[in-house]
């Protein structure tokens, strides 16, 4: 399976970026995959910093893209959600355009075993699942399940059938009203509505550390 690791990033998460990229390098050694990071920080300074980290850990097959959404009339948390959704939609389109078989959605604050991607791709191929969502425990509330898109392998078929944001005039919508508050259950429901399937796995990929600092 040809997989794209795709991740929205922001300078706010710099506290864990080095640890995460070190982890990415290890995962890539076990399962060859390209890396696409979508930065939504203000300005492009953070991109340079991340490029430096990649160099440090010997990550060469990566791409960095950048966008900004600013609005004075919108609540800060809504704006933050919109940025994540916009980045997810960019990655979805990049996965399809790039001819990848799957997108490995892996948030930059989650440290996972280096054989995770290998294991998930084997599971996906063996059982023909359209999406495998891994429980990665809530970052803020201890002992609470978290089966969102933090560590999730999404097949091309699922990405063809379900989107994150609609397009308007040939571009991804930046209208807050089109957003979904990063509620991943919406994306899951779209997959089911299209006649697809997915699984959520608990205790299969472990340990997963969801970093708060």
């Amino acid at each position: 399976m040809r997989v794209l690791i795709g991740t929205p990033i922001h300078e706010l998460k710099d506290y864990c970026m080095e640890k995460w990229l070190k982890n990415v390098a290890k995962v890539q050694k076990q399962y060859r995959a390209d890396l696409l990071m979508i930065d939504n920080s203000k300005g492009t300074t953070y991109i340079e910093k991340v490029e430096g980290y990649c160099k440090k850990f010997g990550i060469t097959n990566f791409a960095l893209d950048h966008f900004e959404i600013e609005s004075e009339n919108v609540d800060v948390s809504q704006l933050r959600s919109m940025r994540v959704e916009y980045a997810q939609e960019m990655i979805r389109q990049a996965t399809l355009k790039g001819g990848y078989d799957a997108w490995f959605s892996w948030e930059c604050d989650q440290i996972i075993p280096s054989n995770s991607l290998k294991k998930l791709s084997e599971m996906m191929q063996l059982e023909n699942y359209m999406m495998i969502v891994v429980n990665s425990w809530s970052r803020l509330i201890p002992n609470t399940f978290n089966a969102n898109m933090g560590v999730t392998l999404i097949s091309r078929q699922a990405l063809q059938n379900a989107r994150f944001l609609p397009e308007k005039n040939g571009e991804i919508s930046r209208n807050i009203a089109d957003g979904y508050d990063v509620d991943e259950t919406m994306f899951k429901k779209r997959i089911l509505k299209s006649g697809g399937n997915y699984i959520e796995i608990y205790g299969v990929i472990k340990p997963i550390y969801h970093l708060t600092k």
């Binding site: 089911l192 697809g196 699984i199 796995i201």
Partner: protein
């Protein structure tokens, strides 16, 4: 072949769907033979006689019905928790490999059990939860104990009663608690969505 117990708490409140459900049980048993235990928590023993009549009519001959005497004013979650514990005790006493937990208001495809057994074996999962759909909230997937396969591994370790030594202080939320215990004990489980379908969660 895994030795399975189909075990279900029942109550006269669900009589509106009992015949349809027992017909479904009968068809499923033809595809995957399993033992069948019902735990009735209705007041009195009258409902048991009624259910026996249904079983006779539908041709289900091999089954057990136990009765749980419980104050009807106790919370529903307690009715269910205590009924599940009776099923668990029966399960352990008769050396089954897995319990097929299947609520009496859910109509499922007849190959469901054989499919769940395959998935459980393939991944060595300790529990497999297909999503049913919420009975009350439309379009809301619900992967709890309504339809699920639970291995002996879990049932030997964890029960359904409130235990003074554990952190749980309420009958409510028992399913999430049970799942967490399985993970804490080193086990794994899987929730599968859109794989077993259609599932009809009957409300009338």
């Amino acid at each position: 072949m895994m030795k399975i117990l189909i075990g279900t708490p029942i109550n006269e409140i669900k009589d509106y769907c009992m015949v349809r459900w027992l017909e479904n049980v009968s068809k499923l048993l033809k595809q995957y033979p399993a033992d069948f235990l019902l735990v009735d928590n209705s007041p009195g023993l009258e409902y048991i006689s009624k259910v026996k009549g249904y079983c006779k009519k539908i041709g289900i001959k091999s089954y057990q019905i136990e009765h749980l005497i419980i104050n009807q004013h106790q919370p529903v979650a307690e009715h269910i928790g205590r009924s599940r514990e009776i099923i668990r005790q029966y399960f352990l006493a008769h050396h089954y490999d897995a319990w097929f937990s299947w609520e009496s208001d859910q109509i499922i495809p007849v190959n469901t059990l054989s499919k769940l057994v395959e998935i459980m074996k393939a991944g060595d999962y300790k529990m497999v939860h297909p999503n049913a759909w919420s009975r009350e909230v439309q379009n809301e997937p619900d992967a709890d104990f309504g339809v699920c396969l639970i291995s002996k591994w879990c049932l030997e370790k964890y029960g359904f009663l409130l235990d003074g030594l554990d952190a749980r202080r309420s009958w409510h939320g028992g399913e999430a608690w049970f799942k967490k215990q399985v993970l804490k004990g080193g086990g794994s489980f899987i929730e599968i969505y859109g794989i077993i379908n259609p599932i009809y969660h009957l409300k009338k």
